[in-house]
């Protein structure tokens, strides 16, 4: 019988893993079989020297400093294809979300944080609500003037009791307002009773991506209150 080896190993301290197990128990981090199916299905594999499996190993093995420092969390798009492939249902995107939120705001990619900060005021490109209302009116007037077939086209705003509420990605009114017109025409052709709102009208929702649940909750709550105050039965998301 060989003598029992007297190896002294320090117990791994994996604080991030503990935190994630507590904050996101449904992420199932302990169930990982290290099979690598997540890696083969992930286009972010290899970027920043990481892939979903390595990322998870670093967390499990307590490499907290490396985990907190890696920008891989911004190359992962939280697309959830790894979760879709994983035999154990591990939700790596959800863990990435948690880690994005753990970064101090001033250490996050500035443009991403800015999009959320602007969204919290009204919309992700930061145009004033009055400009949105003006652009919609202006583009509509142009259609009325130039396209006789669409002289009765409508683009209602704040129409109480409309059956459908429509949001609009802020990119359109800000940089390509003519892209709103096809959608109005389709709704018109279908005879739909719809409305925009003059506030919280942006459907981009960037606060999901910065990782702060309170910011995300705030913007969705504002949207929900707006749609309910208009009394619309359906909230149509345009993307």
């Amino acid at each position: 019988m060989p003598k029992k080896a007297n190896v002294k190993l320090k117990k791994i301290k994996a604080k991030i893993k503990e935190h994630i197990n507590e904050a996101v128990p449904q992420s199932n981090i302990n169930y990982c079989l290290t099979c690598g199916l997540c890696v083969s299905g992930c286009p972010a594999s290899g970027l920043e020297g990481l892939d979903p499996r390595k990322f998870l190993r670093l967390i499990v093995l307590g490499q907290d400093e490396e985990i907190l420092g890696t920008d891989w969390i911004y190359s992962c798009t939280m697309c959830a294809r790894c979760k879709y492939a994983c035999p154990m249902g591990i939700d790596i995107g959800r863990i990435v979300y948690e880690l994005r939120g753990m970064r101090p705001k001033d250490k996050r990619p500035p443009n991403l944080q800015r999009s959320c900060d602007l969204q919290k005021k009204s919309n992700s490109t930061g145009i004033p609500n009055e400009d949105f209302v003006w652009v919609v009116g202006d583009v509509l007037e142009e259609v009325h003037q130039n396209e006789p077939d669409w002289a009765d086209l409508k683009a209602p705003i704040d129409k109480k009791g409309a059956k459908y509420y429509l949001n609009q990605n802020a990119k359109e009114p800000t940089v390509e307002p003519e892209e709103m017109v096809p959608l109005w025409k389709i709704l018109h052709a279908a005879g739909i009773d719809w409305t925009y709102s003059s506030k919280w009208w942006d459907g981009a929702n960037y606060c999901l991506f910065t990782g702060d649940p309170q910011d995300w909750e705030y913007t969705v709550r504002k949207q929900a209150e707006t749609v309910d105050s208009l009394g619309c039965r359906y909230y149509i998301n345009t993307e």
Binding site: P43, C79, L112, A189, N205, R233, Y235, E239
Partner: protein, 167 residues
Amino acid sequence: MFFATLEGLRRFNIPHKFEFVSIITLYAKWIRNGRLQVTPEWNREGLRFAVQDPCKLVRQGLGDEVAEDLRYVVKQVVGEENFVETWPNRSNNFCCGGGGGAIQAGFTENRMKYGKEKFDQFDRVKPDVVITPCHNCHTQIMQLCDHYGGRWKTTHLWNWLVKALVR
């Protein structure tokens, strides 16, 4: 972006009286029940169309059902024979690489590498047009086409639906 509102309402238990729906689901419903009448007749040259399945709408949102609705609408609008499928697709499709705030986050080189998979998917079937029912996918796939020398035009769905309208 579909998932942000869908999941936000769920996760934070936000009270609401409305039903949250996708425009793609409605297009399909309105074409099926005759409320919207469309014809592919405008597509005489036989432009070939492919679609992107936005992760936040399909895999994380309404699943294969909305992916089917998207294909149904596109086929009605451009002609069934002019639709080309990419692989993998629907809930198992690849993310374009522009999701999750990646376009704003600024790691452009990584974003282009990430998107090579998506570029190859489309490049294999050589579409004339790629339809992207999501703004992030739209920006990313347009940039990928430019970056890797693709030949398709990247557009929203509404531009073609409006062309196919019968009034």
